[in-house]
């Protein structure tokens, strides 16, 4: 137990901050994922074939390629790509991107592919009559989306989005390969310096379980809120 003490003698505070880091990366990645879903869901639902192809390409490739490979692409390719863009603007210095940004971007793109699928499914399962009825009533398109489609869609999407959240939370453990100090990396460091890997990795597992358990409780509350009247 003294291994988990706060302060200089133990790893308690380090692991606490690492847990916060995991949460921060997960939330950032989830938000980036929503942003991607916002772009790609309309593409997937579009009647235009080439736009459709772009949307399908994104979700198929990302969901068919291991997360670790995507992370390596961003980790090794990210700064190169940024430097290439910068060189077009006449900036030739070496640019190193922060591990937090690369990590949450990589995980965000992955979680975006899953979110896109969830939103697409939710929108498609809304009754066509809802679209037609609001059209007949002369409701403007964006009001139709915000006031009629979105609330119904969220009710259908939340249970699946909670799965996406779980996947995203667990995927953040892979960012440890880039050196970002989240739960996994911190346990790796602690295990290395105390030579007690069994304890620290088990503790990391407990931390992840705690995170998934608590977030499930929270999401269940949201689910109740959005499904009132059903």
């Amino acid at each position: 137990m003294e291994l988990l003490a706060f302060g200089k003698t133990g790893w308690g505070d380090e692991l606490f901050y690492a847990t916060l880091m995991t949460l921060a990366v997960s939330i950032t990645a989830m938000l980036i994922g929503f942003f991607f879903a916002l772009i790609f869901t309309p593409l997937k639902l579009s009647k235009n074939k080439s736009l459709n192809l772009i949307g399908n390409f994104y979700t198929t490739v990302i969901r068919g390629v291991p997360e670790l490979l995507v992370i390596y692409l961003f980790f090794f390719g990210g700064s190169g790509a940024i430097m290439f863009v910068a060189s077009m603007f006449g900036y030739y210095e070496y640019i190193e991107i922060n591990a937090f940004i690369t990590g949450s971007f990589a995980i965000g793109i992955i979680s975006g592919a899953y979110s896109t699928e969830v939103f697409r499914g939710a929108i498609q399962s809304i009754d066509k009559g809802q679209f037609e009825a609001s059209k007949v009533l002369g409701i403007k398109k964006h009001i139709q989306f915000y006031k009629i489609i979105l609330p119904q869609m969220l009710r259908l999407a939340i249970p699946n989005l909670s799965n996406v959240w779980q996947i995203t939370l667990k995927d953040t453990s892979l960012i440890s390969v880039t050196g970002l100090v989240e739960i996994m990396r911190q346990s790796y460091i602690a295990a290395g310096s105390t030579r007690d890997p069994l304890f620290f990795y088990s503790f990391a597992a407990v931390l992840y379980l705690l995170l998934t358990y608590l977030s499930m409780k929270l999401i269940n509350k949201l689910e109740v809120k959005y499904s009132r009247g059903f």
């Binding site: 068919g64 892979l174 890997p197 597992a205």
Partner: protein, 220 residues
């Protein structure tokens, strides 16, 4: 880009080996725990639930690290014959994958068993068919059909999961891809080739499952 292709292709063999062995063991673990989940004894039931909860609630990476780095720490294990298996990263990865996919498979199979209409089992009983035969000839074929789409997803998830073997020094497809990236600094080209191989494999799995779904697509 072309030069890296043979290396990546030979690493694919290891990925496929890892995948097939872990799916094979995982299916048995999954079936066992699905049966335990449906047991009426609350202790057995809770144990099976706890197993699947823990393995589905923690990242696969943690599970591999616990098995590969953690178990070696127990002095007692080092003296038993288990150590022959546990000192090999290859078998550690397979154990972790099998336990992980077993947890997911048990959930898939359990829900498949639970969606079987009770009428079908009652009909079998009233025809005087023995309980064992009902299980093997009625429940299992229907459960296979019900669980095929979800199990197909699980195979694809596991295929992507095998990439984590590269973190415990195994040179699977992702491991070799990372090695080539870090020696040649050509991340995009290598990503396209390695990603293409993975995509091809998921494509094959996807179509195989579609074919099986058609084959087993009888009405229940």
């Amino acid at each position: 880009m072309i030069g890296s292709f043979p290396k990546l292709l030979s690493a694919t063999v290891i990925t496929l080996k890892l995948l097939s062995l872990s799916l094979f063991f995982g299916l048995f673990i999954g079936l066992l725990f699905a049966i335990l989940r449906m047991n009426k004894n609350p202790i057995v039931n809770k144990f099976a639930y706890g197993y699947s909860y823990v393995f589905r609630g923690t990242p696969l990476l943690v599970q591999i690290f616990i098995i590969y780095f953690g178990l070696g720490q127990i002095e007692y294990l080092r003296s038993t014959f288990l150590w022959v298996i546990l000192k090999e990263p290859y078998w550690c990865a397979i154990i972790a994958f099998a336990l992980n996919t077993g947890a997911y498979t048990s959930e898939i199979l359990r829900s498949a068993f639970q969606t079987i209409k009770p009428g079908l089992i009652e009909a079998g009983k009233s025809l005087g068919i023995p309980k064992k035969v009902i299980f093997y000839k009625i429940q299992i074929p229907i459960a296979i059909k019900q669980s095929l789409p979800a199990y197909g997803n699980e195979i694809i998830l596991m295929l992507k999961g095998t990439s984590l073997a590269s973190t415990v020094t195994l040179m699977d497809l992702t491991g070799v891809a990372k090695y080539i990236i870090s020696t040649t600094f050509k991340p995009i080209e290598v990503f396209i080739v390695a990603g293409g191989i993975y995509l091809f494999m998921t494509f094959c799995v996807h179509n195989l499952i579609k074919f099986l779904e058609k084959k087993y697509g009888f009405q229940t």
